[in-house]
Assembly symmetry: C2
Homo-oligomer: 226 residues x 2
Amino acid sequence: MKRDRSTTVARAGRGSAALDLICCTAVDRRLAVLTTVGPGARGRGLPWTPLDPRGALDVTVLRWTRKLLGRAPSWMTQLGAFSAGGRHPSGAALTVAYLAVVPVGTEAPDGLTWSPATEPPPLPPGRQWILDAAIAGLRDRMDIAPVAFRMLPATFTLSDLQQVYELLLGRRLHKASFRRALQAAFLVEPTDSWRSEGRGRPAQLYRYAPRKRRGVRRSVRFELLG
Amino acid sequence: MKRDRSTTVARAGRGSAALDLICCTAVDRRLAVLTTVGPGARGRGLPWTPLDPRGALDVTVLRWTRKLLGRAPSWMTQLGAFSAGGRHPSGAALTVAYLAVVPVGTEAPDGLTWSPATEPPPLPPGRQWILDAAIAGLRDRMDIAPVAFRMLPATFTLSDLQQVYELLLGRRLHKASFRRALQAAFLVEPTDSWRSEGRGRPAQLYRYAPRKRRGVRRSVRFELLG
DNA sequence: GACATTGGTAGCGACTAGCTACTAATTGGA
DNA sequence: TCCAATTAGTAGCTAGTCGCTACCAATGTC
C-alpha cells in the first residue's frame, strides 16, 4: 500500500491534477459502478489516472476511458472538480471526475469489477462523496440526456427501458403512462424483431431514434425545495 | 499586457490550476455578467485567481469571492473544470469555473463592471465558451435551485419574480399561470408591505420562504432531443 | 372624473397523467 | 387438450394542470 502510494505520487505529483472515472451500468436490476479490486489494496476504489491538463480535457478523458474499458462509453459527461484533501491515491490535490455509462452486459476489464452503486463496498472517504454526487448527477441528467437509453444495447424492449428508468429513479412507474409519454416524445422507433424470453408474450424490439419535435414551450416548473 | 501575463504566470505556474468566476445578475432587465475592465487590457475578461487546491474547494472559492465582491454571493455552484489550452491569463492549463448570483442592484467592485451576458463584449476565445456554458447552466438549474429568487432582494413583488424568470428563460410567461404554479409550490409568503412605483396599483411584497411539501411524484419527462 | 397603467383573479376549454381494466400471445403443466 | 400463469400492450375514465381571455382593483396623470 505504502509502496503503491509513493510510486503514484512520483507519477502524478502533489500539485498536479488527477482524473476519477465513475462508470455506471445496470447489473441484476441494480445500479452498478466500476471499482478497482486490487488484491493488495485495503478496499475498493474508483479507477483514476494522472491528468495532463494540456490538450482538450474531454478528448483526453475519452481516449483514456476507451483504453481502460476496451470500448468507448456509450455516454459521458463531466461531473466536476473536487479537492482531494491529500487523500487521493495519486497524491494530487485536485481531481476532475467524469461520469460514464456503458450498456448492460459490458464486462469489467481486468483489475476492475462492478460493485453495487447504492450500497457500495467501503471506499476511501473522499471517493464515497464523489460517488454520491455521481448518482445524483445521473438522476438529474436523465431527463435532459439519453442516459437510460445508453445503458441499453442498440435494440431493447420497452419493458427493458422502463426497468432502467425505475432503477435510475428509484421508484416504480406505471406501464401505460410510461409508454404514452414515450410515444409522445418520438424518441424510439420499432424494429421488425421480437424477443421471447421464455414465459409470456414476445416483446417488440425498439431502437433509440429521436426525432426533432417542435419545442412544446412547457410551463415553469417549481421543483425546488429548500 | 505582456508584463501582466508574466507576473501572473509567476504567481500561478504552468502546471497549476486557476479559478474563473462567472457572476451574474440582472441589469436593466437584461442578464449581466461581471467582467474585468482593466484600462490596459485589450478586451474584457472574467475575474480569476490562481487556485491553491489544498483545502476544500468550495470553501476556498467562497472566501475569495466574498473578498472580491465585498459580500457573499446569494447563490453559488461549481460549473466544472475546463482545459485552458494555454490561453488562460494565469498561465494555468486547467481552470475550475464557478457560477455565482447576486441580487439586482449589487454594485460592481473596483476594476470590474457588469457586461451584457447574452451579447457580451469581445472576450478571449476560451472565456466565451465558459460564459456560454454558464448561461446554459443557469437555465438548467433554475428549476431545481432558487436561482431566480437569489437574483432578487429579500422582499420582492411577484412581477419582479416573473421578470427574472422571463429574463432567464428568454421568453414571456403568462401572469396568471405563473402565479398559480407559484402558489401551488408553496415557495413564497406575503409580507405586510406594499410597493407603489409611480403608476398603477401597488404590489404586495413577498419573501422567499419555501415550505416542505410532500413529494408529488411527477411523471417521467422525456425532454431530450438528440 | 376619465384614462392610462400596473396588480391580481375567475373561469373556460384543451390537454395530460395516473389508474383500472381489459385484450394478446406465449409457456408449462394438469 | 385446455387452462393457469406470465408477460406485452391498449382503451378509456377521471382528476388535475396549463394557457388563455376576460375581468376587477387600485393607483397616478391629465
